[in-house]
């Protein structure tokens, strides 16, 4: 059993920021201002990171790639 007075580890702070930390460990935050400040700072940066947009390559990218790939024919030869 984990001691409730033990400071949260980095992994636990990340779990807390994602709402996944077991309640028994999350209770530590109520009593520890040190961990609370650290957890809140981590939560902010994690939130900024997970909200970053995904980028896509320009139109025609897949065609350009496939044009350069060698594909094996049934006879075992390679074709571009």
């Amino acid at each position: 059993m984990t001691d409730i007075s033990m400071h949260l580890a980095t992994d636990e702070i990340e779990l807390w920021a994602q709402g996944l930390l077991p309640a028994a460990r999350a209770m530590h935050l109520a009593d520890c201002s040190l961990c609370r400040v650290e957890a809140e700072r981590e939560r902010k940066i994690i939130l900024e990171l997970v909200q970053l947009p995904k980028f896509a390559p320009s139109a025609g990218f897949a065609d350009r790639v496939m044009a350069k790939v060698r594909v094996a024919t049934p006879s075992g030869d390679w074709m571009a």
Partner: protein, 163 residues
């Protein structure tokens, strides 16, 4: 995978070249794929290696203010020299500052490439620590340390900006 490459090299055209190189390696080397390895991790590994290789080459090439070390003529030296006074934004620079110009994107660009890969795989791609360790062929403890340090550095950069 394109997002990772783009954030690693911060150049859309170059990221597309590296993505193309990655897919060609994947498709041409499909026979060397080991099924016990997650397929997407294998692709990310090849992509990340391509980006890191590029950044290493670039760090060598961009040290000279007098132009590329491979330049052979005065014209080539001028064309490749670093213009410190030139602050005009090209259309490409404008696109870059629109897409990667936010404070958090700029902070990510200041991280060491190894930290950048880890933090992007963790929080943008949603990989677990174990998957990152497999993908980047790093010990699990190293991945945890890199991610923790990366978040600390990001916080530092963002706090500096806000001060």
């Amino acid at each position: 995978m394109f997002s990772l490459l783009y954030r690693m090299v911060r150049d859309r055209a170059l990221a597309e070249d590296l993505a193309q190189e990655t897919f060609i390696k994947v498709l041409n080397g499909i026979k060397s794929y080991r099924p016990e390895f997650k397929f997407s991790s294998w692709i990310f590994k090849i992509a990340n290696n391509a980006a890191i290789d590029h950044l290493r080459r670039k760090s060598i090439d961009t040290l000279s203010l007098d132009g590329s070390p491979t330049a052979e003529t005065p014209e080539q030296m001028r064309a490749t020299s670093l213009q410190l006074g030139d602050r005009t934004e090209s259309p490409l620079d404008e696109a870059l500052s629109r897409e990667l110009g936010t404070a958090i994107e700029r902070a990510i660009s200041r991280l060491r490439p190894e930290y950048r890969s880890c933090i992007l795989l963790r929080h943008v791609e949603g990989y677990s620590y174990e998957e990152i360790a497999d993908t980047l062929e790093l010990p699990l403890g190293t991945v945890k340390t890199y991610i923790h340090r990366a978040r600390n550095e990001l916080r530092g950069y963002l706090e500096d900006r806000r001060d």
